[in-house]
């Protein structure tokens, strides 16, 4: 890996696309023919300067962006054990079949009779997601996990409001929650109350009991939790919150660990969002697009975001605010990230009912295997008394203290060994942590290679710490100066630059 990357750095082809631009170069083959006639638009509304966009040939563009792609780690090229992100293999068939012209050319506002094949897929996906989550209904429309969270909390608010229960102003979040949880609660007009996690990784039930009351709108939980363990007293937690009149929100970030084994609906949750780019293997795409469908219990049924897909026995059709007047409303201009939903649908059908529990089983097997093997090689686990779920946490606090080699240094050195780093410094409550999630699609030899690399870096940290602290050495860039990036903000290329 390092050799091919190195050659790209050194051959002088690395500038930004604007540096390859020359006035007068164009791609007439990709643009429409020049037409006669001038715009019927008053001069005062017309643009007077030509925007600075690149002027390059098609080949220059293709080469530039192909080379850029080669500077990325990706699942297709590297083991990518990024905890909480479920970087599993994205089957090619999902992409190929979702990009059939009949789907790509379908205008979202075209009459439903022209898109029945597409609508069938959406309806069946709703039904399958209901089944795997144990919820009463599903809306596919949220465009990412964070928007699913927003929809979930907005529904909880709509539920309390509809009952005239307007004193509920607080949402409880564990201190280990994803940062989106508190941010979402605030977007829905709630105050956030944090409760602590105990040393064994479970929620502090006494703190929860003390925290709930008539002011409690709900609790936001991830289970398995963000510290990589299953919340064992979940049924009791559900009872405490429900008894106080609050609702339970399930952050589906870690659904991969329990797919086909346990269902959030059975645990007592009222609303769940799913990250289809995690559990249902749609591409992460360098940071999106995602999809964050939401499922609900009976209580929240009327409030689901629209549009949803309905079926009247003869035809699939959209359900809008007209049919669902209590809905929290629309979250996107159209129906959401349809192309992502199509990929998830295809993946779910390829797995089928027998393939879904296997996802949980083998992702948990892989995680426990790495966990035990790293422990055998002397690494400290954050929760040594617990089983791993699909992920687990190693803490490098001891290395940071005794060798001055931090989790960040380990992460950067792993890149030199050809492994993407695990999630670092999340959750915040475990110092110098690595959150490691191998996923079910990795084979044992790859896991062994990663374990060996970790052991080698540990040895390097003990013998040549300065070298580790300078890593990486073999990538397109050495460590980047992010202080300079923030202080001397350069976020737009200007033609004065050289």
């Amino acid at each position: 890996m390092s050799n091919t990357m190195q050659s790209h750095i050194e051959n002088g082809q690395d500038g930004v696309i604007f540096e390859k631009s020359e006035p007068g170069r164009s791609n007439p083959c990709q643009a429409p023919r020049a037409v006669e006639g001038s715009p019927v638009i008053p001069a005062s509304l017309l643009r007077k300067t030509v925007p600075m966009l690149p002027e390059v040939s098609e080949m220059q563009a293709v080469r530039h962006f192909t080379r850029l792609s080669q500077k990325n780690f990706s699942i297709d090229t590297h083991f990518y054990p990024l905890g909480s992100c479920t970087m599993k293999y994205n089957p090619r068939a999902c992409n190929t079949l979702a990009m059939l012209p009949g789907f790509l050319n379908h205008h979202p506002l075209a009459p439903v009779e022209t898109g029945q094949g597409f609508m069938t897929c959406m309806y069946e996906l709703q039904e399958m997601l209901k089944e795997v989550t144990g919820m009463q209904a599903v809306s596919l429309t949220p465009m990412a996990g964070a928007q699913g969270e927003f929809a979930g909390m907005a529904m909880i608010r709509a539920y309390h409001d509809a009952r005239g229960d307007d004193a509920r102003c607080e949402v409880i979040c564990p201190d280990a929650a994803h940062g989106t949880n508190p941010a979402t609660a605030v977007m829905c007009g709630y105050k956030v109350k944090e409760i602590p996690t105990k040393a064994d990784g479970d929620i502090d039930i006494d703190a929860l009991k003390a925290a709930v009351g008539p002011q409690t709108a709900g609790i936001m939980l991830t289970n398995p939790s963000t510290v990589g363990v299953f919340e064992r007293r979940i049924t009791e937690i559900a009872k405490i919150v429900h008894d106080a009149g609050g609702l339970l929100y399930y952050d589906g970030a870690n659904l991969n660990a329990i797919l086909g084994k346990v269902r959030p609906g059975d645990m007592g949750f009222d609303v769940i969002h799913m990250n289809l780019h995690k559990t249902f293997s749609t591409p992460h795409g360098g940071g999106g697009p995602g999809a964050g469908p939401v499922g609900v219990s009976d209580r929240l049924l009327p409030f689901l975001p629209v549009p949803m897909v309905g079926f009247n026995g003869a035809q699939y059709h959209w359900l809008t605010k007209k049919e669902r007047p209590q809905s929290i409303g629309q979250l996107s201009a159209f129906g959401g990230n349809a192309g992502v939903l199509m990929r998830a649908y295809i993946y779910a059908r390829l797995l089928g009912r027998e393939g879904m529990p296997r996802v949980a089983e083998y992702s948990v097997l892989n995680a426990n295997y790495i966990m035990v093997e790293l422990q055998k090689r002397g690494f400290d686990l954050a929760f040594p008394s617990r089983r791993a779920t699909h992920e687990f946490i190693v803490t490098l606090k001891r290395q940071a203290k005794t060798l001055d080699v931090t989790a960040m240094d380990f992460a950067k050195r792993l890149l030199d060994y050809g492994y993407h780093a695990p999630t670092t410094y999340f959750p915040l409550l475990v110092p110098e942590c690595f959150l490691i999630e191998p996923t079910e699609t990795e084979d044992k030899a790859t896991l062994d290679g990663f374990i060996d690399a970790m052991a080698k870096i540990q040895h390097e940290a003990e013998t040549e710490a300065a070298m580790v602290k300078g890593a990486p050495y073999t990538l397109p860039s050495r460590r980047l100066d992010d202080v300079r990036a923030a202080r001397e903000l350069d976020i737009v290329w200007r033609d004065t630059e050289t």
Partner: protein, 458 residues
């Protein structure tokens, strides 16, 4: 097993290492009463060949000639774009948390930000938001944060903004005490009447200005911008990116330019695909950049002093600011943005201007032809970009659209539900993908349909 590489030997060795008897033992912390059996409602798995056959059948069917726009536009997408975008290195990478291992994605976003800033004539751009509608909601939230002079949470929202966008903004901002006050439009011109705006609107955080507006009509953006600025409001521009090759960019509206620019990025190389994934773009000037939601990439240097790229201004974001973040957004629409970046690169300013001009002229041609038909008239005598509204007399829009579909034409978007004052009206679009023959085909079909329907009614 589908997508699982383990052999029996692997599993045995791994379980032995863990000290577990079988895989099921690894789930022993989950209470037994919560465990489930078979997922009855999920069908049995298909193999790739079976799935392929099923999906080809579902994707089959005639493709009618599309004259619908209304927020999603059919444009030619150069072949190179999705070939490159779906390369595994872009397709299966994640958010660039490890900058050294993500220089490809990071540089691409930097180039995207640069292109969007140049196109809108603004100083800064983020790495994108989910779509145009939710992007406008984020812009409204940002305007309330950024307007330090205003204590109010009032937003002026013209009725000429896409009604779907207005509904999305309502959903997203209503729990934060923000109120959207509707501004009516001139019913003969189809745009905001500057003269009818109040001289003293009171304390308002921002005015939203669409260009072109939902009817395809061009607003008097400079006058509106100056009116808003003179009253302490920020200006949020919602624009079509294709049109910016032709129209005054928001950074140059009025004396000072718009403050926040957002819009739907789909026209830039993204397929219609039933409504998504698309992307929302957002730009602003540097004075407001810390209030902007979403990821931002900066150019910096590495330990050897070589140029490189990294996420920057991250302290605004939810994983650090948690409940005080500018937004709960934690992704962008990475892959779709890659497509847009390639699109702008391949077309360049000249190519984009040709797309804009051809679409505009095709639309003029179509509107001239359709209005030769009896019972069809242009709703607004105002300059437009690549959409226009026709009013129909003696028929219902629904009946016309149904009959056109039977002729193989998607005739437009029915405005009657969102704008009852217009009566029976359609919003029609012709982009550069429409030939003279396509335009004639629509005219002929509509002509027949009008005759038949009116004849039937008589």
């Amino acid at each position: 097993m589908p997508f699982i590489p383990h052999t029996e030997t692997d599993v045995k060795q791994m379980l032995a290492s863990i000290g577990a008897s079988d895989i099921d033992a690894l789930f022993d912390e989950i209470p037994v009463e919560l465990r489930i059996g078979i997922l009855d409602q999920v069908p049995a798995g298909l193999n790739e060949m079976e799935m392929s056959r099923l999906m080809h059948a579902r994707a089959a069917g005639a493709q009618p000639l599309c004259f619908i726009g209304a927020g999603a536009y059919e444009h030619h997408i150069p072949a190179a774009i999705w070939e490159i975008v779906t390369r595994g290195e872009f397709y299966s990478a994640y958010t660039p948390y490890q900058a050294e291992a993500s220089q490809g994605t990071l540089q691409l976003i930097y180039e995207y930000q640069s292109m969007m800033a140049h196109l809108t004539a603004m100083e800064a751009s983020n790495a994108s938001l989910y779509d145009g509608a939710s992007g406008l909601a984020e812009a409204v939230l940002m305007a309330v944060r950024a307007n330090r002079k205003s204590k109010s949470k009032r937003i002026l929202m013209p009725a000429t903004v896409n009604p779907s966008y207005r509904r999305v903004v309502q959903t997203i901002v209503e729990n934060q005490g923000i109120t959207l006050e509707l501004i009516d439009y001139q019913h003969d011109a189809g745009c905001i009447d500057l003269a009818s705006l109040p001289v003293e609107p009171g304390d308002v955080a921002a005015l939203v200005i669409p260009q072109p507006n939902f009817f395809g009509v061009l607003e008097e953006v400079s006058g509106l911008t100056d009116w808003a600025h003179a009253r302490g409001m920020l200006v949020v521009a919602v624009v079509n990116p294709t049109s910016l090759a032709l129209l005054t960019p928001p950074g140059e509206w009025g004396e000072q330019g718009a403050d926040i620019v957002c819009g739907e990025g789909q026209p830039l190389g993204v397929p219609l695909a039933g409504g998504g994934p698309y992307f929302g773009f957002m730009c602003c000037n540097l004075n407001h950049v810390r209030q902007m939601p979403g990821r931002i990439v900066g150019r910096t240097v590495d330990a050897d002093g070589k140029p490189g790229f990294a996420l920057t201004l991250q302290a605004r974001e939810q994983h650090i600011r948690r409940s005080k973040a500018t937004s709960n957004i934690c992704t962008n629409q990475g892959l779709v943005v890659a497509a847009a970046t390639l699109y702008m690169t391949l077309l360049g300013a000249e190519g984009l201007a040709r797309v804009a001009t051809t679409s505009h002229l095709n639309t003029q041609q179509l509107s001239e032809q359709l209005t030769t038909i009896e019972g069809v008239e242009i709703a607004f005598a105002s300059p437009n970009f690549h959409e226009f509204v026709i009013k129909l007399s003696g028929v219902t829009s629904d009946a016309v659209l149904d009959a056109l579909l039977a002729e193989g034409v998607l005739g437009g978007f029915n405005l009657s539900a969102d704008y009852p004052a217009l009566g029976e009206a359609l919003l029609v679009c012709a982009t550069e993908t429409k030939t003279t023959a396509d335009i004639s085909a629509y005219r002929d079909a509509l002509s027949r349909v009008m005759q038949t329907l009116k004849g039937g009614a008589a």
